[in-house]
Symmetry: C2
Subunit: 272 residues, 2 copies
Amino acid sequence: MKFQNDKLRENEERDKRIKKNLAKIRHKIVIFSGKGGVGKTMFSCNLSYALLKDGFKVGLLDADITGPNVPKMIGLKGQPVANSEEEIIPLQKERLKVISIASLIPSDAPIIWRGPLRSTALSQFLGDVVWGELDFLIADLPPGTGDEVLTMAQKMKPDMAIIITTPQEIALTDSRRATNMAKRLNISHIGIVENMSGFICPECGYKIELFGRGGGKKEAEKLGVLYLGDIPLNIKVRERADEGIPIILEDDKADISQRIRKIARKIEEILN
Amino acid sequence: MKFQNDKLRENEERDKRIKKNLAKIRHKIVIFSGKGGVGKTMFSCNLSYALLKDGFKVGLLDADITGPNVPKMIGLKGQPVANSEEEIIPLQKERLKVISIASLIPSDAPIIWRGPLRSTALSQFLGDVVWGELDFLIADLPPGTGDEVLTMAQKMKPDMAIIITTPQEIALTDSRRATNMAKRLNISHIGIVENMSGFICPECGYKIELFGRGGGKKEAEKLGVLYLGDIPLNIKVRERADEGIPIILEDDKADISQRIRKIARKIEEILN
């Protein structure tokens, strides 16, 4: 019983720390998807920098514990350190504050953690990281509707959920599940972004509908949620992401950067 | 205490049922990946039919509880029923025995289950489904290294793990984690398949290296595991998958079908 009471008190204290820490953050956004591989992390990183470029203070929380890719995608190196109060100081890259399990463990090590342990890690990211005053905290979630997503919805209390989908039917089915989960969790604003929306052949300029096109918008209308915009598939973006450079930082004038910045402004309008 | 004892006995009995049920299955293969959206389910469905075409008895277990897409991808309709002993009779599609949570719940409903509940569902799929005598049981796992993957490795005791990757650097990093997990779980045979390996423009025939190329093979050599082959990206395969028709059943002569059948024969050789 003593052990259980200790555990209970520990949880209560952690929840208090989370509440206090998040009180300094104006808007909290979760980025998720039903299906994997639709570009959540690409979007999360570029959206964060788009918001920064608009003059806001932004933090990015990599909530994918078993497949954390944020540091790699923005070229973030190093390990966060703790201050004297045992709080974690987030790393920064071009003024973006970032926390990811990938910065804390070796890059090849498999993270074989069951749900409760993953949830504890996320609670620490929310309660024990010195985010400071932020306009936006963006959480990049793993695909599906599992433990991480539930924990983040319950502890972070986001005011917006953005569901990333590709236009193909199978991704849309999974997005429907993700959207319905966001509704059930009573998240105030829910929006859909269609990624990999068409693709231009670099040789002949032919527009290839690799995964179809337009499904995201139709789906948003059907589900009665916001449609935030679409982003085409671009080899350059993929290559630069592999090299750790978000397209928005490299080429702000590119069509894809402009589209992401437009989506960022829509989000600012909705939340402000 | 009584409740705890009941629970313990229940778990023990379930493990016994799993052992008995799986004793009738010659080879058990888990398909997984570090990153989502790399084509695990496409591969699992087509590999299952490739093995069937070679004259084997095959079962396909959809172990992705929060994003189950197997039924949609093979056009499987209907709900499995239970027999008098409360065992579940798997549905069949072209002689392939299939179990998926998607056949048991409405298609739009989000599956908001934490890890332990998802693991229980998987234990039931292993112990309470009437698989009968099988040459191969293929399990299509969710991405990452979370609860489902751990449960399947521990309860199913697979003799082979196949890691699907795309050639892009970020997918390869995640594959490294997945491969190292398979090693740590002492799975006898570990192989890598490179999916979305190049893409031909349908208009001009130009070979587009959308996600790069050849990374899977290099990675397999570096990690000291088997390299099973590569599969190019093909719009037709994606479209047919959206319509519920695996390419192998529709066009066995297509380049992509031939590549998958070659991979299937490699697997048969390795395990037989």
